[in-house]
């Protein structure tokens, strides 16, 4: 065990970094779905927008000013995007899931193509801010400092979201709506404003995650789909609408993805799919979910 950990420690730490990043992306997707029953396929496009903001503002040689500026800009764009998406999907509330998916899919295509028009097809890299761009030795292996910092930031955000959703009045309304939408509507609570806020906040998190993930993933066409899929797997594994589920699912999938890539590079997609299938068969409602994905 000790030997295995020595050999794979970098992979495990990487898994935590990716896991926390995934949590930041997935928690919005999960809550938007849980509250509004909207599968927001444009969630990956929000992340991609953030990534390109990072690439454009920060670029290769990063400064703290540029990095924080990019975070702020991405957060603003994410907020605006979330409000816009919430307005776009509102008229489709009584329509099928397919219609909502199609709409957000269309938004994804448009956003991704606009970004290609603006920044071209080639992958762009994003530097880590000064001080975080080096490496530290971790049990003999050089490990990028930025990823350790990302784990810290991710953990802080996770705590913040957790407190917000589990300990505040608004959080209580969010949880109630996730648990039983119809009941909340029936007792006459007007949760429209909360819906827009959750949509906006989730979108903001996704866009800032794009900047935060920049030094790892860079910015390139197709990244939106990659991230969206990982986030969907996280949400399905963790259970829909559950913050705790999103956190555990994200950390789990982060490990599966990272270790899968380092141990079985050719079979990484199979490992990811395998864990998804396993959860669906053993626990169709996800690890922390109430409602089931598959029916027995």
């Amino acid at each position: 065990m000790g030997d295995w950990l020595d050999a794979n420690l970098v992979g495990v730490v990487n898994g935590f970094a990716i896991g926390f990043l995934l949590f930041i992306v997935a928690v919005g997707l999960s809550l938007v779905f849980g509250m509004m029953d909207v599968l927001n396929l444009a969630h990956g496009a929000l992340f991609l927008t953030g990534a390109y903001v990072g690439a454009a503002v920060v670029g290769g040689d990063a400064s703290w000013g540029g990095f924080l500026g990019a975070l702020g800009l991405a957060a603003g764009l994410g907020l605006a995007g979330g409000v816009l998406l919430s307005a776009l999907t509102e008229p489709l509330r009584r329509r099928s899931h397919l219609d909502q998916a199609l709409l957000t899919l269309g938004v994804t295509l448009v956003v991704a193509e606009l970004l290609v028009i603006a920044y071209g097809d080639d992958p762009l890299s994003v530097g880590a801010p000064p001080g975080l761009d080096g490496s530290v030795p971790v049990l003999g292996a050089a490990y990028p400092v930025y990823r350790l910092a990302l784990i810290g930031v991710g953990a802080l955000l996770a705590v913040a979201v957790f407190v917000l959703v589990e300990r505040t009045d608004m959080g209580a309304l969010i949880r109630a709506t996730v648990a039983d939408r119809d009941m909340v509507a029936a007792i006459g609570v007007d949760n429209r404003l909360v819906r827009v806020r959750v949509f906006a906040a989730g979108s903001m998190l996704a866009a800032t995650a794009g900047v935060l993930g920049g030094p790892i993933y860079g910015a390139r066409p197709g990244l939106d789909a990659t991230i969206l899929i990982l986030a969907l797997v996280v949400v399905v594994v963790g259970g829909l609408g559950s913050v705790r589920g999103a956190l555990v699912g994200a950390l789990l999938i982060g490990q599966v993805d990272s270790l899968g890539r380092s141990l079985l590079p050719d079979a990484a997609p199979f490992v990811l799919f395998g864990s998804l299938a396993l959860v669906l068969v053993l626990r169709p409602q996800g690890l922390f979910g109430g409602r089931g994905v598959a029916r027995a």
Binding site: L39, L41, L102, A225, L228, I229, F270, L272, L276, L280
Partner: protein, 373 residues
């Protein structure tokens, strides 16, 4: 497609019952509505409005879901398609070939989305899997028609069979999520499995399809090959959609719990539809390999899957022919108008996507249907 356990007591009595009835019927004048069963099968017979007014429509017909185009029009379209290369420039012929390939993909997706109510966002995966398999066979074994095509269909079916059992367990929006995830995972596999797929660069230099030892080099010959195969694929899907099994799939789309209560093992039915659609998509992929002679991971990516779904939705889900028309529109925008937009046809398609959701909730076939009533 048989979910009935053999040797069931009810079944035996049902069979004798049916025999008795059919014997009795022979003595009677044929009741109205029997032309249903005797209608010629084939695209020429599509939507022939025989006896529509005179009789209760049987499940096997559900002409409402089938096209309303008269048989003559279908025949004319096939004849026109067959003659097209004689009049068109090679570039136009190539575009038309692409349309046929994409139309086959879209129609196979419509069997899932429109007929069975299974909105798959990962259908391009089976298309790409078939394309890679056909390319691989062509490079390493033979490119003699129809072997690469069959390899594509078999691989599409296998990939769908391997992944579909998880997908069909899920309902509604979860099905969307799972198929999206499955498609993207296969996409990543295509990108990482360098030794077979050529990785991100794709599988290049696929030899031309050969017929009788002669390579099909001219665009016109490739087109005819693709046309013949695609028509076969359309015919297959069309027959399935109009069969009792197709009626059962529509029943599942409408009300799955009720179908289960009526004794239909719905998950097996959905699984079979998923595998069949995967096989046809794989065959379409085989045609893609023969036509482009290059397969890249993008062919099984998110965008391809989204565009196939767009084709189905533009055309109006469930009509099959609508999906083919939608596919033509998508390819025209991407390959003909796209270059005028500096290759950003996808942007236009994204806008079309958004517009369709708001303006045309039932697709083009919905418009025709409304007028047809």
């Amino acid at each position: 497609m048989d979910g009935q356990p053999a040797g069931d007591a009810e079944e035996r009595s049902a069979a004798t019952d049916a025999e008795r009835r059919s014997m009795a019927r022979e003595a009677e004048p044929r009741p109205r509505g029997q032309e249903t069963a005797q209608r010629p099968v084939g695209p020429e017979a599509e939507g022939r409005p025989v006896g529509r007014e005179a009789q209760p429509r049987s499940v096997a017909r559900t002409a409402r879901h089938g096209p309303l185009l008269p048989a003559g029009l279908a025949a004319a379209v096939v004849a026109g398609l067959a003659a097209a290369p004689l009049f068109l420039a090679p570039f136009a012929t190539t575009t038309l070939t692409r349309i046929l390939v994409f139309a086959l993909l879209a129609v196979s997706l419509d069997l899932l989305v429109g007929v069975s109510g299974l909105p798959s966002l990962g259908h391009a995966a089976y298309f790409g899997a078939g394309a890679y398999a056909a390319g691989w066979i062509s490079i390493h074994t033979t490119s003699a028609v129809p072997l690469p095509l069959l390899a594509g269909a078999a691989t599409g079916a296998l990939a769908a069979a391997a992944t579909g059992w998880v997908a069909v367990r899920a309902h509604g929006v979860y099905f969307l999520m799972l198929t999206l995830a499955l498609g993207e995972l296969l996409h990543q596999l295509a990108q990482t499995w360098d030794s077979v797929t050529g990785g991100a660069n794709g599988m290049a230099a696929i030899p031309s399809a050969e017929l009788g030892g002669e390579p099909l080099r001219l665009a016109g010959y490739v087109y005819w090959y693709v046309l013949a195969a695609a028509l076969l694929g359309f015919l297959t899907l069309w027959l399935v959609a109009r069969s009792p099994y197709g009626a059962a799939l529509r029943g599942i789309r409408d009300n799955e719990p009720r179908m289960r209560a009526l004794g239909y093992p719905t998950r097996i039915y959905k699984y079979a539809a998923f595998v069949l659609a995967g096989a046809v998509a794989g065959a379409a992929g085989g045609l893609l390999a023969a036509q482009e002679r290059l397969v890249t991971p993008a062919d099984l990516g998110f965008t391809t899957a989204a565009l196939a779904l767009l084709a189905v939705v533009i055309g109006g889900a469930g009509s099959l022919w609508g999906a083919a028309l939608g596919a033509a529109l998508v390819i025209l925008v991407r390959d003909v108008i796209g270059p005028d937009l500096d290759g950003h046809g996808t942007l236009l398609l994204g806008v079309v996507f958004i517009a369709v959701v708001y303006l045309l909730p039932r697709g083009a076939a919905g418009l025709v249907r409304r007028r047809g009533r």
